[in-house]
Each structure stands twice: as structure tokens, then as C-alpha cells.
Amino acid sequence: MNVLEMNNIKKSFGENNVLKDISLQVKKGEVVSIIGPSGGGKSTLLRCATLLEKIDGGEIKYMDEKVTYYDSKQKLCYNRNLNKFRKVFGLVFQNFNLFPHYTVLKNIIDAPVSVLTMDKQEATERALALLKKMDLSGKENLYPCELSGGMQQRVSIVRALAMQPDILFFDEPTSALDPELTGEVLKVIKQLAEEKMTMVIVTHEMAFAKAVSDRVIFMDGGVIVEQGKPEDVFENTENERTKQFLKTYYSNAY
């Protein structure tokens, strides 16, 4: 079953067509990485999938249920109950966006308790177990400002997981981190991939994308230029644009 289905998505900001007829399907348990140059539409695609931006055309479905549809006048409409779909997915942001006034534990359990009406005791136990798994035991009573960037990002991953999503999106999860801190975050994501968590990861970490993904998508200029198995895209690509991008990328990596 497809957890996420995006068909013929179009999105523009004014004159700027950021997404030109993009389709993306993600199966249960699949790990999809999206790579490509800045301004190619990767983040916009993720923001459309997570309902932070509204699409101009196309169709979005989660678990075979329509998020968007066309009414009798062929006008694009969004389902009225978007919070129902927000329970299906989670999003990990580039700059974490933890709530600074809540402790680590409260950051994690507040939404399950007040949105999903989960029992507080149960939410706390689950949160502590997740923290332990992410190597964050003992940090539950600290505030985000007392943690390193890498720890903050791992807490934000726990926060997303605590909502028990069917699919997890990552928007450049290591781009705001010092190089020595990216490893600990990537390790955690890799661990989730091994547990067959359905994930879509926008990233600039090519080696990581290659290691962790079932499928790699190369996006540029608002279209999917190429997609396939990691070894096909990274090593055996016939596509000139992909070759060029990877070449620039590797030559920039000193």
C-alpha cells in the first residue's frame, strides 16, 4: 500500500513555478531520499506533503484517502479535517523547532497527551523508552537550550516519533549542525530505516543517502530528473544533469 501518494503536483510562488507536475509515491516501509541543488523544489515538495504549503494543482493522498480533491467546478479543494492527516505523518525540521519553554519530556509528551488524548503516564513511559533508544537517557528534564544541536535534533526526532506517525519526513535534518554532530543524527535515522520506518529524507549527505535509501530521487528545476536505486543513481547514471550535479558535489567536497 502507498502511505503517501502525490500525483501531478504543481506549485508556484507568483511567477516562479517551483513544482512542475511532480509525482511521488511512497510505499509502506520504504526509505526515499531526495537530493538535488538548492532551489530545485525539494523542500517545497516536502512542505506541500506536510500541508505547510497548499498545492495549486494535482492530488495528495495519505493511506489511500484523499487530502485534496476537485469539486464540481474543477476547483482544487482541501479536505476539511486536515488534522486527521496530520496524525499520519511527522516532520523533522532543519532547525529542530523544539519548544524552548518546555523541557525535553514535555516537548515529547505534550502533543500525544493534548492532541491524541493519550494517558500521561503511558506517554511518559513511551517517551522515556524512545529517549533511551536515542541515547538521550537522563536528559528528559533539561530545556532545549541546554542541549547540543545534535541532541536537539534527536529530541525533535523523538517528538515526531511519539505521535506514532505512519510516515516521517526529514527536511535537511543535519544542515544546521556542526560536522562533528551530523553523525549522531544520521546514525539514529539509519537505525529507524533498519526498523522499516517509512521515511522521506531531503538531504545533502550523499554518502548517507546512498547507504540508507531504497530509492533516490534527483530533483532539479521543479521536476524529478531521475529516480532509482541508490547504486543506479549514484554510480551508473546515464543522465547528464545528474552526472553534472554529482560531479560538482564531489569536487566541492575537499
Partner: protein, 216 residues
């Protein structure tokens, strides 16, 4: 008249000065949030009406607004001026201060990073949970110093109630000064306002410290 007698008489106005102060805060602090939210409304008409009213309230003297609210109903529709001046005083003060507070709130709300809204939206918080649990606590933390500033001004502004003969401390000071041809009552009043504000500053800095447990 001995000083102690003056102080004794003026203390009878203490409760009324305190009534203006606390009731104004009680009504204007929440009202300011509502005005700020309406001012930030996406509805062009609502936000502009509010913008206009706030500009009137901030652009004209509080004394004038107080006179208008106390005596306006009599001149406009012939309703007699009530003997209890507390009600018009509280209405005028609350609306005026709410206008000032609303602009402070608005600045605070606009200073919260977009990511806080997006993160809470993704987690499924509804609009009121998002505002009350995630946004407002951070706003209060940020605007507390500006709010303190307004509260200090409010302590001194309570004396404006003398214009409608509401018998608070300043009104009493003026009465005693006239009858005794002495400047002393004004000095006593000044000392009183100073002490009041010292207490306000002390408690507000305690509140600021209490909220400093996290970095923004």
C-alpha cells in the same frame, strides 16, 4: 494640620488608587491580547477598524478619554452621570491601557519564529492550543520588560482620576493642599507613588527572573 493627620486622611484614598490599578490590569491585560489578535486579523476591514481605534486611544490624552466616558453619555443621550465614578474610570483606563498593551503583544507575537507555528501545526495542535500553549508563553516572556514599563506608568496615571473627582490619593492631596495652603500633601503623594512603583518594579523583576529558566 500635622503631617500624621494628612497621611491618615490620604490613606483613605489608598484603596481607591489600588482599585484603579488592579482592576485596570485585570481587564486591560486580557483585552490587549484580543485587540492584538483582531489587529492582526487577515480580514482587512477588521484590522483597519482596530488600527484606527488604537490610534485614537494612543493619540489623545487619557484625561480627555476619561472625561468623554464619564460625561459623554449625559451630553449625548441625557443619561445622568452616576455618583459612582469607579465604573467610568475603570472603563476609560482599561480601554486606554489595552490599546497600549495590544501593540506590545503584537510586537511579541510577530517576533515568534515561524517554525514554532509550523512545528505545532504539524503535531496537530488546534489554533487555540497552539496560541495558548506554544505561542503566548513565549510572547509573555519576551514582552515582560515592556509590560513593566506600562505598569509603572499606570501607577502614576491613576492620579488622572482626580479630573472626574474620583476620590483617590491625588484628589485628597489636592483637597488638603487647597484647604491648608500647604505643598506638603503633594510631597506625601509623591512619596506614596514612588513606594508603590518600587514594589511594582521589585515584583516584576522577580517575575522576569522566574521566567528566565530558558533561552529564546
Amino acid at each position: 494640620m500635622p503631617l500624621i493627620k494628612m497621611i491618615e486622611i490620604m490613606c483613605t484614598g489608598l484603596s481607591k488608587t489600588c482599585a484603579i490599578f488592579f482592576l485596570t490590569l485585570l481587564f486591560s491585560l486580557p483585552l490587549g491580547i484580543i485587540i492584538a489578535l483582531l489587529r492582526m486579523s487577515k480580514n482587512f476591514i477588521i484590522s483597519n477598524i482596530i488600527k484606527f481605534f488604537v490610534s485614537i486611544l494612543r493619540g489623545t490624552p487619557l484625561m480627555l478619554q476619561l472625561l468623554a466616558i464619564t460625561y459623554g453619555p449625559y451630553y449625548l443621550v441625557g443619561i445622568s452621570v452616576s455618583r459612582n465614578k469607579l465604573i467610568p474610570v475603570i472603563i476609560a483606563f482599561s480601554i486606554n491601557y489595552a490599546a497600549y498593551f495590544s501593540e506590545i503583544y503584537r510586537g511579541g507575537i510577530e517576533s515568534i519564529p515561524k517554525g514554532q507555528y509550523e512545528a505545532s501545526e504539524i503535531l496537530g495542535y488546534n489554533r487555540s492550543q497552539q496560541f495558548l500553549k506554544i505561542i503566548l508563553p513565549q510572547v509573555i516572556r519576551r514582552i515582560l520588560p515592556s509590560i513593566t514599563n506600562e505598569i509603572v506608568t499606570l501607577v502614576k496615571d491613576t492620579s488622572i482620576a482626580f479630573t472626574v473627582s474620583y476620590v483617590e490619593i491625588f484628589t485628597l492631596a489636592k483637597q488638603i493642599a487647597n484647604s491648608q495652603t500647604s505643598f506638603m500633601p503633594f510631597i506625601v503623594a509623591g512619596v506614596f507613588y514612588y513606594i508603590f512603583n518600587a514594589l511594582v518594579s521589585f515584583s516584576m523583576s522577580r517575575a522576569e527572573k522566574a521566567m528566565n529558566y530558558y533561552k529564546i
